[in-house]
């Protein structure tokens, strides 16, 4: 009895968290007039709204932009984050404490402070409306360094010393020994970085004005807020559904990794 009650609550909860997405999908497949009466499934499904979206905005292009930008950032963060993480965990150099302090400082610094000047930098560098503006400011971050540092500490020092004796340079040690043994950390940092850069909207809105360079969340946002959708609800929802689709697909296959990564990033706070 108690158990069925619990199951009921949990199922109701699932409905609350999942149904709105189903509704969104159904509405995006329905003609405009049918939406107000929609409950679960569209009565006469059609892809009309989707073709309208593709007509009006370069959605496919923005998907590629997002993929490209997020991928490059993720690769950069993993490379540079692991470099500094390695230096902090296994190498000796002056100013380690200062560096640590700097890293923590950047992580706690609210972005409200640096938003305007960073934009002005982009203007002065002539990076506005280029991929550089989207990528370079995010190429390194403190969280990845902390995570790599922590993970690398658990790697036995003997392994590293042995490699040094063999004559490996520190960089080879990092990439040939540490990386293969740190896959969980790499996956975690990778997913967190990829997701957060994928979902970032404020910065692209500020530095990118050309439609062909916009990231997907940015393009869909401006589409939903601006007048291009001609006040058609179904079209807006179709655009939103298109944006949600890639992530939901990835999530369907890799839920475990998503959940684990994002949860552990929280634990580091």
């Amino acid at each position: 009895m108690k158990n069925s009650f619990i199951y009921l609550i949990l199922i109701l909860g699932s409905v609350v968290f999942v149904y709105p997405f189903i509704w969104m999908l159904s509405a995006s497949l329905s003609p405009e007039s049918a939406i107000s009466n929609l409950v679960l499934f569209p009565t006469s499904p059609s892809l009309n709204n989707y073709s309208q979206v593709l007509d009006k905005i370069p959605a496919a292009r923005s998907l590629i932009n997002s993929l490209f930008v997020s991928l490059v950032i993720t690769v950069g963060v993993i490379i540079f984050g692991s470099m500094v993480g390695y230096a902090l965990s296994h190498l000796e150099f002056k100013g380690k404490k200062v560096l640590f302090f700097i890293i923590i400082f950047t992580m706690t610094l609210p972005f409200q402070l640096t938003l305007i000047p960073q934009y002005i930098l982009m203007v002065k560098f002539r990076w506005v409306d280029t991929y550089l503006a989207l990528i370079v400011p995010y190429f390194l971050n403190g969280l990845s360094i902390i995570m790599f540092n922590q993970y690398f500490k658990s790697i036995p020092v003997d392994l590293i010393d042995a490699a040094r004796i063999d004559g490996c340079s520190e960089f080879s040690i990092l990439f040939r020994i540490l990386w293969p043994n740190s896959l969980p950390a790499i996956v975690t940092v990778g997913i967190i970085t990829f997701m957060s850069s994928w979902n970032e909207v404020l910065w692209p809105i500020i530095v990118i004005r050309d439609e062909h360079l916009m990231t997907m969340p940015q393009l869909i946002t401006l589409f939903a807020v601006g007048g291009r959708a001609e006040s058609q609800l179904g079209v807006k929802l179709a655009a939103a559904a298109m944006l949600a689709f890639p992530v939901i697909v990835a999530y369907a296959f890799f839920q475990k990794y998503f959940i684990q990564s994002m949860a552990s990033s929280g634990m580091k706070e």
């Binding site: 405009e32 062909h212 058609q232």
Partner: protein, 429 residues
């Protein structure tokens, strides 16, 4: 050490990919930015082709303004980022002053033949309207989209009105009758009209400002850097709109977040412009009939009802390397032939004084009777005042509008007064 080349490669490929085609900034090439409205793109393409085919000198390439939240934002970003074109044809009249003051625009009246050409095309009121505070002219009046009422003829006929209401009282009366017939299923699903209930400053260009112009016979908000809108017309407009919201004649919710309320006969009128014709004809349900009517005016109003014209003008940036050739190209855009093509392709009115007298245009109006009310309205159109902080002032007015008209927290007198005070502070900065 294999990683460093990879990093360099990544960075280099970023740079290469980010190099969007750098505009050919040689003297022979003129870059023209058109609005990204589909019809205007077609028009721009035609005009540019005609020019390039007929001209062995400077070639013109055009591109639509990149899409952003508003093209005004996009232009500002281009100015800031130094990526401006030579000619831009969708400059909102209220924006140009800011750029002119910063020295980014060419004072066109210094170009040979300009004044003669412009006086032949536009009447003196219009020329005065676009003259900057320093006496120079930085923008050429190009096109207007007068704001009028689009009316659902069936809805009005169903409550016994053969013609749409013309005065405030008539309007309120019709509104009450529509509300009366609207209670269904316990919730209000029909209203006389709707205007966007957002506080963003430019929304007022489509409700408050046109009504103010109609009531005041085209008066300014700001003149010679002084606030002149603290008057009975502004207060009257606020009062009228407030009455509409207080009585539930206009809904407070954001109807734009769902399907088109006008075409689904949920609202009887909307403040809109000629662009609506194509949209309405495309999406209207069978049997749906609509017409256009001037804005409602106060009961004791005499003379014509003015309105706001969403004036868009042509400007030339100082980065242009070949100003004389650019001016020649602009002339082709606003020649009689160019204006006629604009009208035919985009259904937007060129700002010419002979719009209703020139046989070329009369032909067009005969073919497109729905445009006739707009053409007739074009004599009574005003654009925004020349003031570099106009947007901030509209923002202040908009906030007072929201507080008074939509949420009833202030009386119209208070609201307009507070707006005037805020505007004075803004003008001082």
């Amino acid at each position: 050490m294999k990683i460093y080349p990879l990093i360099v490669l990544t960075v280099v490929s970023c740079c290469l990919l980010s190099c969007s085609d750098q505009s050919k900034n040689d003297r022979k090439h003129i870059i023209y930015w058109a609005s990204n409205n589909t019809d205007e793109i077609t028009f721009a393409g035609k005009i540019v082709d005609q020019w390039n085919n007929g001209n062995t000198g400077s070639k013109v390439t055009f591109q639509p303004v990149p899409e952003g939240q508003s093209s005004e934002e996009v232009i500002l970003a281009a100015v800031v980022g130094n990526t401006t074109p030579d000619i831009y044809s969708n400059m909102w009249q209220g924006d140009a002053e800011l750029y002119a003051r910063a020295g980014k625009l060419v004072p066109l009246d210094t170009l040979p033949g300009f004044m003669k050409f412009i006086s032949a095309r536009c009447d003196s009121n219009v020329i005065k309207e676009v003259t900057s505070i320093d006496g120079h002219i930085y923008q050429i009046p190009w096109k207007i989209n007068p704001i009028m009422l689009i009316c659902n003829d069936n809805m009005f006929k169903s409550i016994g009105w053969q013609t749409p209401p013309k005065t405030y009282s008539e309007f309120l009366k019709a509104a009450a009758e529509i509300k009366h017939t609207a209670y269904l299923n316990g919730y209000l699903n029909k209203w006389i009209g709707y205007s966007e209930v957002i506080e963003t400053w430019w929304q007022r260009l489509f409700d408050f400002y046109p009504l103010y112009l109609a009531a005041s016979g085209g008066a300014s908000l700001i003149k010679d850097n002084k606030v002149v809108f603290n008057n009975e017309y502004a207060i009257g407009t606020f009062q009228f709109m407030k009455t509409l919201y207080d009585n539930g004649y206009f809904p407070r919710e954001r109807l734009s977040a769902r399907q088109d309320a006008f075409l689904s006969s949920d609202i009887a009128i909307r403040f809109t412009g000629p662009w609506e014709i194509v949209h309405a004809d495309k999406f209207k349900p069978p049997g749906f009939e609509y017409s256009f009517s001037p804005l409602p005016v106060p009961d004791n109003h005499k003379n014509a009802a003015y309105t706001y014209g969403d004036t868009k003008n042509i400007i030339m940036f100082t980065t242009c390397k070949n100003k004389l050739a650019a001016w020649e190209f602009i002339k082709s855009i606003i020649s009689e032939k160019g204006d006629y093509q604009l009208l035919k392709i985009t259904n937007q009115l060129p700002r010419r004084k002979d719009l209703t007298s020139n046989p070329l245009f009369i032909n067009y109006l005969n073919d497109n009777p729905k445009m006739r009310p707009f053409a007739e309205q074009s004599k009574y159109v005003r654009g925004p005042d020349i003031c570099p902080v106009l947007k901030e002032i509209f923002d202040a007015i908009s906030r007072e509008y929201e507080a008074c008209v939509i949420y009833g927290k202030k009386t119209p007198q208070q609201a307009v007064n507070d707006a005037a005070k805020s505007a004075e502070i803004i003008l001082l900065q």
